[in-house]
């Protein structure tokens, strides 16, 4: 027997429950309580409206560069809805819907993208890491956090989000490997939105799926229709339950689409066609979920309209709070805070240097 097939413990499966035409697979339909269904819808709509508003604010020059989320609401909220407050969320930089769901304040998001470090504030009862910009580096933190949970005998889990481009990074593989070796309670949620700035998924890797990367680590994996919140929820439920009960990590690949720009500094017309975008607009996760909820009798066009008005006024109120905070012009000297627990002498000297400079500038301005 010189040559034989090696049986792998897992295979890659694809899950779709509510298709782009609104057709529902009744057998696979997850049992989600009505209030949670409505909360998910509200969360998606809030994220959509806040994203739109941020884009306007950016175009008006009121905030700086940010990464829009349009189209990825379902592929995030379907998964993050499974987390308990004591669980940890480890996001990349396109997880605004998840962050809002978990309790991050919109005004803090505006503060960060408006250029103030103060927006990094995280409430003491929220176990979420701040946004991580270097692609693919943060899943390792999630693996370490999950190891610590296991070491402490907790039933908590960690969930980390990243894109298709991140799966080309070495740190992604190292995180998958560490998580698998130590069998930690961690869910890797890949937001395969088809584009890493201008590089399409097909150039990122020859692998037929991103999910299959888990097979190299004997890790369970699944590919889901990320624009189908029911499928994302069902897959995440299984993964979270496995992690919580000591079954180790899972890789979820959510097939979705970045309907907007990579960041506001990007022009997608250079690398993708309007036709492609139009195709994906037909698969809009929000429209699809609304149809499902209407069919279930949970929503009507009037109710949708009412929720829409509510979330828009929520966004407006947050914007007001953000403007109020920035009107007070945070102290530039605060840049010296929080580098170390205790500020060392050389930084106190440099802080005094800036303090003098600011005083001189104020004096010049007063005299001028």
């Amino acid at each position: 027997m010189p040559k034989k097939e090696i049986e792998l413990p897992y295979r890659v499966s694809y899950l779709s429950i509510l298709d782009e035409n609104g057709q529902l697979d009744k057998e696979l339909e997850p049992d989600i309580p009505e209030d949670l269904l409505l909360k998910l819808h509200r969360g998606m709509l809030l994220a959509r409206r806040f994203d739109e508003r941020m884009l306007t604010l950016q175009r008006q020059g009121k905030i700086g560069t940010f990464a829009p989320i349009k189209g990825q609401e379902a592929s995030q909220l379907g998964a993050v809805a499974l987390l308990e407050p004591s669980d940890w969320l480890v996001p990349s930089f396109r997880e605004m819907p998840s962050e809002l769901w978990r309790g991050k304040k919109m005004e803090n998001i505006l503060l960060v993208y408006g250029g103030y470090n103060e927006g990094g504030h995280i409430p003491s009862d929220l176990n979420d890491l701040p946004v991580s910009i270097p692609v693919g580096t943060h899943p390792l933190h999630a693996a370490g956090i999950a190891y610590a949970m296991k070491y402490r005998g907790k039933k908590d889990v960690a969930m980390t989000f990243f894109g298709d481009g991140a799966t080309s990074e070495g740190d992604f593989f190292e995180a998958m490997n560490f998580a698998s070796v130590y069998q930690v309670p961690l869910i890797f949620v890949c937001q395969n939105n088809q584009w890493a700035i201008s590089v399409p998924r097909s150039k990122q890797t020859r692998s037929r799926t991103l999910a299959q990367k888990a097979l190299a680590f004997d890790m369970p994996c699944i590919q889901v229709d990320g624009n189908d919140i029911l499928a994302v929820y069902a897959a995440a439920k299984e993964a979270v339950e496995r992690a919580r009960s000591g079954g180790g990590p899972t890789l979820m690949e959510c097939i979705t689409y970045r309907m907007s720009v990579h960041t506001t500094a990007d022009d997608p017309k250079r690398y993708r066609t309007d036709e492609e975008v139009a195709e994906w607009e037909k698969r809009d996760p929000l429209v699809r979920f609304q149809k499902y909820l209407k069919d279930k009798g949970l929503l009507s066009d009037e109710k949708i309209q009412a929720v829409d008005e509510e979330v828009k006024s929520e966004v407006k109120a947050a914007e007001g709070r953000w403007e109020e905070i920035t009107r007070k012009t945070p102290d530039p000297l605060d840049m010296f805070e929080h580098l170390y627990a205790e500020t060392p002498p050389h930084l106190l000297e440099q802080r005094a240097e800036l303090e003098r400079e600011l005083a001189e500038k104020r004096k010049e301005a007063d005299n001028g």
Binding site: L129, T137, G144, A148, E174, F178
Partner: protein, 326 residues
Amino acid sequence: MAKLTMVQAINLALRQEMEKDDRVIVLGEDVGVDGGVFRVTEGLIEQFGPERVLDTPLAESGIAGFSIGMALYGLRPVCEMQFSGFSYLAFHQMESHAARLRGRSLGRFSVPMVLRAPYGAGVRALEHHSESREVYWAHTPGLKMVIPSSPRNARALLVSAIRDPDPVVYYEPKALYRAFREEVPDEEETFPIGKSHMAREGRDVTLVSFGAMMHPTLQAAELLKEKDGIDAEVIDLLTLAPLDDSLFTASARKTGRVVVVHEAPRSFGAGAELVARLVEKSFLSLEAPVRRVTGFDLVIPLFQREMDYLPGVHRIVSAVRETVQY
């Protein structure tokens, strides 16, 4: 009190901190069953088990990033880079995250981890096993950078590093691992990070060094006293970041003459910062240009030439004589 090598002293620090605090976790390549390639972590896995002493996969960035996660959760990981020459893969994690998470979260999170790595030349090793790249870390805001020079201060500084609320990169002068023994107290001893140490008092010239180079520097001081009657003051930095410039700038104001010694390449090395601090804080007292006795701006050659690359007693003595006679 026992006479220990630096390897034994570091091991003592790890063991005692692990006994005292179950948040302390040791991880790295071969640190468990093998006890580390230099045996620094010998016996720890037997005493504390594989959940606290992790033989990790061979992935430096992974080790650093995994440690960051543990630290964020409230543990106190002490990770080992097998050689500092392989630590650059971990640099991204340390620079982009370990150093910044406190600030990024406005103090909600912190990363109390230690990254240990043997550094430096003089042990007849392969390529990538002899570098001295401490300034990469020392230049990074948010990190602390510590380099001990003896068994006793190695132990005390590592205990302080483990208890520090911020990430500490701790370089171990591997040329000194078993070079000599020193009395190390059994009871707890710490040494504050961010403080330099007066290793030898003198009045004619100030020598500033750290790590493995402290030894040729101290030998040079003795030789200069004996042969030339030059009385050198020697300052051991112990911490590069945050740098304590109080001792050496005060000493420069007393002696007026300074020689800086390190084995890393000269350009943009620690010596450049020391000279800048001297100019800023002791300029009017200087009687001679500050000399830098350092490694050359080269990739360190293989071991047949490493002693010619490294600053030694001869190079230091010559520089001191010229500085004193200037």
